[in-house]
């Protein structure tokens, strides 16, 4: 049926070659007609200021997903491809959950979608899953939106018999979420806010350093959050010689090892985050390179974001 429609449309267009050339509708039909499976948003929730949770229908990904992996999404024909680390998945229900903060054009546009809406592309599960083993005591440090991807990792690590001490930090109370969820998969949870509006005042490296100094035997640290936070976690643990795993978030395009945009330097060797990572040894990562490469498109990102804000603003 879809094919028949497609054929009819193509014949219609074929009568006027120029129309075919100019028609984006043509591209849409060919791309989406019958062969393009769009992905439905099952439900959504706002977790904090500009922080949103989307549960999407993606049974094939949900069946295969493992902690630490990510998906690449594209909203529509005009959209860019961005990676989002998995926050949760349910193989039985066939759903995959992601959490994101509105920081640029794509996340701003994503936040405007409602339950029942569709996005064009949802690819995964990508990347190497987190290394799960019985390490002993593992400190899981989450900064901001990092609370989402670290929760499933803490969960499987706890199931594996590790003692989990979690540190959850955010700039302010309104940006904190999943405190209960993370507590339920941890033996102990410490909460911090930069401005002291909730929990301990200060950044996550404070309690991390205290733990390491307290004589508590820490066998592994996992830090997920903004690059600068992961960098300082790695710097904090380095003198103590505690293996520290970080989940890097460089700019990506395809997410399958094809473009090399996400290249990072780890132990002096160039790695592709999408296929060699996203987890790496935080003590080996060239943080300055990562931070510089994340700034490549600052001007363009601003331009795109402002353009979409203006466009959507007019509409509402």
């Amino acid at each position: 049926m879809v094919l028949f429609e497609l054929r009819r449309w193509m014949k219609l267009f074929a009568m006027d070659a120029d129309a075919v050339k100019k028609s984006t509708l043509f591209m849409l039909l060919v791309n989406w007609g019958g062969v393009h499976q769009m992905v439905r948003i099952i439900s959504r929730e706002t977790l904090g200021t500009k922080i949103h949770l989307f549960k999407l229908e993606a049974p094939a990904i949900a069946r295969k997903a493992l902690a630490g992996q990510f998906v690449v999404i594209r909203i529509d024909e005009r959209g860019e491809r961005i990676p989002l680390t998995l926050a949760d998945w349910d193989g039985k229900e066939g759903s995959v959950t992601v959490v994101f903060m509105e920081v640029g054009a794509t996340t701003f546009r994503l936040a405007l979608l409602k339950a029942g809406d569709f996005i064009a592309d949802f690819v995964g599960p990508l990347g190497v899953p987190s290394h799960i083993d019985k390490f002993g005591t593992v400190v899981c440090v989450a900064g901001g939106v990092g609370a989402a991807p670290i929760t499933p990792i803490a969960k499987v690590l706890k199931e594996k018999g590790n003692k989990i001490i979690s540190i959850l930090g955010a700039r302010s109370k309104d940006l904190l979420f999943w405190e209960d969820k993370l507590r339920s998969v941890s033996h102990r949870l410490i909460v911090t806010t930069d401005d002291g509006t909730y929990g301990r005042k200060g950044v996550v490296t404070g309690p991390l350093k205290e733990l390491l100094e307290s004589g508590e035997k820490v066998d592994r640290v996992i830090a997920i959050g903004p690059s600068i936070m992961m960098k300082f976690c790695a710097l904090t643990t380095q003198p103590f010689g505690v293996k520290t795993i970080v989940s890097l978030n460089p700019i990506m395009v395809d997410g399958t090892g094809m473009c090399g945009c996400c290249r990072v330097s780890v132990g002096g060797v160039t790695k592709f985050s999408c296929v060699d990572g996203p987890d790496f040894d935080g003590h080996q990562v060239d943080w300055d390179l990562l931070l510089a490469r994340q700034r490549i498109y600052l001007d363009e990102e601003k331009c795109s974001f402002e353009q979409w804000q203006a466009r959507m603003g007019k509409r509402s």
């Binding site: 054929r7 005009r78 064009a120 949802f122 990072v264 363009e300 795109s304």
Partner: protein
């Protein structure tokens, strides 16, 4: 015997100055008169040597005769009998080293412009018949299922051939559109994406089910596909992983792999930013490292996106360049500057980690190496600095390791290519065939298509024998 006509009909192109500023197709194709004039030059020699030069065995004299006889539907039928993607091949095949080189008139220096005629027939079909022109008679379903992994040239041909034989084919593609390198790699001005999609739609019209956004090796392994009612599997995943030189400064901002630069521009349509969300940075002084078609494509894209100076940096001389002659000429006409016998030593960055220059060696040529080309040798003490604010590394690609990593019994070489029989594409793994760049390393569209055709034939033979 009629006098030989040695005046090859030329094809109109966009003026170099104009085309350097737009992404429209450079070559404009033959008119009906030009096509007939060119077709009339074919002497219909009994040797048909041109067909020996064609990896997919097109009946070249046959379709040329049909063009001359004004029987275009017949020309289309003959062409599509052997080639499911004629609009693509007519544009990007290196005919000068294949069919046209084998043409009887090549010795006289004026082979028939077979590629241009192929393109003319394909374009005629698309405007006059619609690419979805259904087959006269659908094949009898065999009830056998085949999975084809990768929807580039090899995958599309394998899928089309197997579907034409009555097998039920599912084609898996990792990206959000089918076409592989034809979509992300080759630019719009050389191969319009609408033509690729029309030919993809033709393959779909044969009954091929296309699964986009499916990264085989991640969402399903080869073994899982083989267990789930798939009788045979064809791997056509190409050589999609970019190579770098591993020299200092290569990760500075402003240094792209050709794959990234071309993907942003072609697949993600960054040339229409901010209408499309994906950005691309383009510098004023751009160096493209490499001498292949991908280097030419990257240089010409950078020019069209507004770079002032674009250099091709190639370590050997022009005769050793692997790019098609025609594309080198096109690039030169558009103002791309060739810095030959030059090779980067390191990249220089500023305080915010953006590339501002590159130190290069002058190169000399020594004795021929394994490739038969003279080996480039750096001249000590010849280093000089070239000011550039953007670099594209077009140094070749190798197979993506994703599938090999998740398939224990698929034998690969140290270059990451899959070990497969050269003629029929059978791999060391049961029920798995492979063809195209995944086997040979980066090569041409048409050689991938030829390998896929031969593998499809062998898969068909296998499927006809097995009983469930």
């Amino acid at each position: 015997m009629p006098k030989l006509n040695l005046n090859r009909e030329s094809m109109t192109k966009q003026d170099p100055k104009t085309r350097g500023k737009n992404f429209n197709e450079v070559a404009l194709g033959y008119s009906a008169e030009q096509a007939k004039a060119e077709a009339s030059r074919c002497i219909q020699c009994p040797k048909h040597s041109c067909m020996d030069g064609c990896p997919v065995e097109i009946d070249i004299p046959g379709f040329i005769k049909a063009v001359l006889d004004d029987n275009m539907p017949e020309a289309v039928r003959i062409l599509k009998d052997k080639n499911s993607l004629p609009g693509i091949c007519g544009r990007v095949c290196p005919q000068e080293t294949q069919c046209e080189q084998a043409c009887s008139l090549a010795k006289k220096g004026a082979p028939i412009a077979i590629g241009r005629l192929e393109r003319y027939v394909a374009d005629w079909e698309r405007t006059n018949m619609g690419a979805l022109n259904p087959r006269a008679e659908p094949p009898r379903p065999t009830g056998k299922q085949v999975a084809v992994v990768g929807s580039g040239p090899a995958g599309l041909v394998a899928a089309a051939d197997l579907a034409k034989l009555g097998h039920s084919v599912t084609l898996f593609e990792a990206l959000h559109v089918a076409g592989g390198v034809l979509m992300y790699g080759i630019p719009e001005f050389r191969l319009p994406k609408e033509i690729v999609q029309a030919e993809v739609a033709y393959v779909a019209s044969l009954g091929v089910k296309i699964e986009l956004n499916s990264v085989v090796g991640k969402v399903a392994t080869l073994d899982e596909l083989l267990e789930n009612s798939c009788h045979a599997l064809f791997l056509g995943t190409g050589a999609g992983a970019p190579m770098f030189m591993d020299i200092p400064g290569e990760n500075l901002n402003g240094i792209y792999s050709a794959n990234e630069f071309l993907t942003r521009v072609n697949l993600m349509k960054a040339y229409q930013f901010p209408e499309y969300d994906t950005p691309v940075f383009v510098g004023r002084r751009v160096a493209v490292i490499g001498g292949g078609n991908v280097a030419m494509d990257s240089a010409r894209c950078a020019l069209r996106l507004g770079a002032d100076e674009v250099y091709i940096i190639y370590r050997r001389s022009e005769v050793e360049m692997p790019a098609r002659r025609e594309e080198v000429e096109n690039a030169k006409e558009e103002g791309i500057q060739f810095k030959l016998l030059t090779n980067p030593k390191r990249y220089i960055g500023n305080e915010s980690s953006w590339v501002v220059g590159m130190e290069c060696y002058e190169m000399g040529l020594g004795d021929p190496d394994e490739s038969g080309r003279r080996r480039p040798i750096a001249k000590e003490g010849s280093e000089f600095i070239l000011d550039v604010d953007m670099v594209v590394a077009a140094l070749g690609t190798r197979p993506n390791p994703l599938i090999a990593q998740t398939t224990s019994d698929l034998k690969t070489t140290k270059w990451g290519t899959v070990v497969a029989d050269e003629t029929i594409g059978k791999t060391m793994k049961d029920r798995v065939w492979a063809g195209g760049d995944i086997v040979t390393g980066a090569a041409t569209v048409i050689s991938a298509m030829g390998a896929a055709r031969r593998a499809a034939r062998d898969i068909d033979e296998y499927l006809r024998v097995i009983v469930e």
